[in-house]
């Protein structure tokens, strides 16, 4: 086969890596802030006797962002909880087919979840009382996280289809 498809596959791999850098850096930064916030809240309560009222809501908001942004990292690091060795046992031809079917399903489900998240944002405008910010700041974590997950599944689809040619 020509080098054109191979190059396209490599571009996708590079793209996957770049997105990983960006998302993981963001998510880890949020995680670190969350740890610090919980620790500071304990200190504020005991040492300075002045509890931070917004700390619960803010730390759970940050938590949602680490969880949903982390979906992408979890896929990259292969930590999602699944039973994937059954497919690996299938004969090569069937396996390729099953892997492609699975990948299409994954794209569909992740896209659907991202879409639901978007609908949710559109239909709500409440405020989180303790912080006086819109609850959309929380809900946005879902479409962003699942959107990124759908993207990595999509970026990996061509490689599965191309496997036979290599």
């Amino acid at each position: 086969m020509g080098s054109q498809p191979t190059r396209a596959l490599r571009v996708m791999q590079d793209l996957e890596l770049v997105i990983d850098r960006v998302l993981t850096t963001f998510a880890v930064a949020i995680l670190v802030v969350m740890v610090a916030l919980v620790a500071i809240a304990v200190a504020a309560r005991y040492l300075f006797n002045s509890p931070l009222v917004y700390s619960y809501d803010l730390s759970t908001l940050l938590f949602a962002w680490t969880v949903f942004l982390g979906l992408y990292t979890a896929e990259r690091d292969n930590t999602h909880i699944s039973l994937d060795n059954l497919v690996q046992m299938a004969p090569a031809k069937l396996r390729r087919l099953l892997l492609i079917v699975r990948q299409v399903l994954l794209i569909a489900v992740a896209t659907y979840a991202a879409w639901m998240g978007l609908l949710l944002i559109q239909r709500t405008g409440m405020q989180i009382p303790s912080m006086r910010i819109s609850v959309r700041w929380l809900y946005a974590s879902m479409p962003v996280g699942f959107g990124a997950l759908a993207l990595i599944y999509l970026l990996r689809l061509p490689r599965l289809i191309a496997i036979r040619e290599n």
């Binding site: 670190v32 740890v35 930590t79 497919v87 992740a110 239909r123």
Partner: protein
């Protein structure tokens, strides 16, 4: 409707779709077919599944374990464990178990424990002539002690989804965790002596017991701090977990053995693990809302009550279900999906929720080492390059003794409840 969902679950599972996404896909079927179930409400359920302060303990305790392994505490505890066990037959095998037990107070998951010991201890064990599959099996089995002795991610998740006090679960799991360690050590003694592996070492140790203990003290002190703090109401489990992170970070600063790259990888690993667990948790929170429309929990409960109405038999039945499920499904998912489903059944028979929780979590962890699918087994075998078949040959005696501990805990609630209620 329900049979369709059950079939779809099995097919998607076999296809290797992550369990969290399976639950989302099944909910999609419902949303499309049942006009009563709103997709937006479902999305809201999914997000609110993450919006709970007690859940923050999950990433925080995972991070504590990750940081501990790079801080240099692990190595010091290992020196201490090796010193204590060096006169025993199979000394290094005993070190393996004792190390898991001592580090359990800083490590909330079996996977991290297994990975660390497979990298560090198994090569040493090979040098002393232990067969590789035995070392790997022992490392995986003893890693299951780590999540039982508090803090444990399984206990936190169980407490969360069933509304059981996490503090009581922590306290209650101490004796079962130690019992597990004692049974494994006794069994290892018999195995190593029979084969003549690693005979007792009569050499004089190079460091004194006191100095070695001092090095191990930070790891032994932390669980005490956490349990006393949580049970006395000084802080919640999540706050205790944040304190534990700072505590461990302090030792990173003091020992100066970790570099920035290792810290980054520890954070990244925490992120990936947390996200994977929480996806299942949030999706099952949303999915269980769908299931209540179908009265699935009630139906299952009634079916189980027709099988037996004797508390111990019911726990044994549940343990068997978890064991069979654990052959194929990760224990965490079992805790999140089945834990709350069986709760009304056992409480209606008068079983204490803490007793139920400890039996449940213990059995759920076993799934990590039972072939054909087990995350702890995969982690250890990937590092030591042992095949699953060879692993299975060496691990079955430990699975039997693990089941023995489970039987003891089912028959005698006292072991699980005594420390939980003082």
């Amino acid at each position: 409707m329900l049979p369709l969902v059950a079939i779809a679950f099995v097919v998607l599972l076999a296809l290797g779709v992550p369990i969290g996404l399976i639950l989302l896909a099944l909910s999609l079927i419902y949303v499309l077919l049942e006009p009563a179930i709103m997709d937006v409400v479902f999305a809201q359920r999914l997000i609110s599944g993450t919006q709970s302060f007690p859940l923050l303990a999950v990433p925080l305790f995972i991070l504590t374990g990750e940081l501990m392994n790079i801080s240099g505490i692990t190595r010091r505890v290992m020196d201490f464990a090796a010193l204590v066990t060096h006169r025993m037959s199979g000394g290094l095998a005993q070190t393996n178990i004792l190390l898991s037990t001592l580090l359990a107070g800083m490590s909330g998951s079996a996977n991290g424990d297994a990975a660390m010991q497979a990298k560090v201890l198994v090569p040493e064990m090979s040098k002393r002539g232990y067969p590789l599959n035995f070392s790997t099996a022992l490392t995986s089995a003893s890693a299951l002690i780590a999540p039982m002795i508090p803090p444990g991610i399984g206990l936190i998740l169980f407490g969360f989804v069933t509304n059981t006090s996490i503090g009581r679960l922590f306290a209650g799991a101490i004796i079962p965790g130690l019992l597990l360690a004692a049974v494994m050590m006794a069994q290892t003694h018999l195995i190593t002596r029979r084969h003549g592996w690693d005979p007792p070492n009569r050499d004089k140790p190079t460091i004194s017991l006191g100095r070695a203990f001092l090095g191990a003290a930070p790891a032994i002190l932390l669980p005490v701090l956490i349990i006393v703090g949580v049970r006395m109401g000084v802080f919640t489990p999540s706050e205790a977990a944040a304190v534990a992170v700072l505590y461990t970070a302090t030792f990173i600063l003091i020992y100066r053995e970790a570099d920035w790259r290792q810290i980054w990888l520890a954070l990244r690993s925490t992120l990936a693990t947390t996200s994977a667990i929480l996806l299942v948790l949030a999706a099952s929170a949303a999915f269980s809302w769908v299931l209540t429309f179908e009265r699935v929990p009630q139906t299952i409960g009634e079916a189980m009550l027709t099988a037996t109405d004797q508390p111990q038999m019911m726990l044994a039945l549940i343990a068997t279900i978890i064991f069979l499920g654990g052959l194929f499904i990760e224990g965490t998912a079992l805790i999140l999906i089945l834990g709350p489903m069986f709760l009304p059944v056992v409480t209606s028979l008068g079983v204490d929720p803490v007793h139920y929780g400890i039996v449940f979590v213990l059995m759920a962890h076993l799934g990590g080492i039972t072939p054909p699918v087990g995350t702890v087994m995969f982690t250890a075998c990937a590092i030591t390059r042992v095949s699953i078949i060879d692993f299975a040959r060496a691990v079955w005696p430990y699975i039997l003794s693990y089941l023995f501990v489970a039987a003891v805990l089912i028959l005698f609630p006292f072991f699980s409840t005594w420390l939980a209620y003082i």
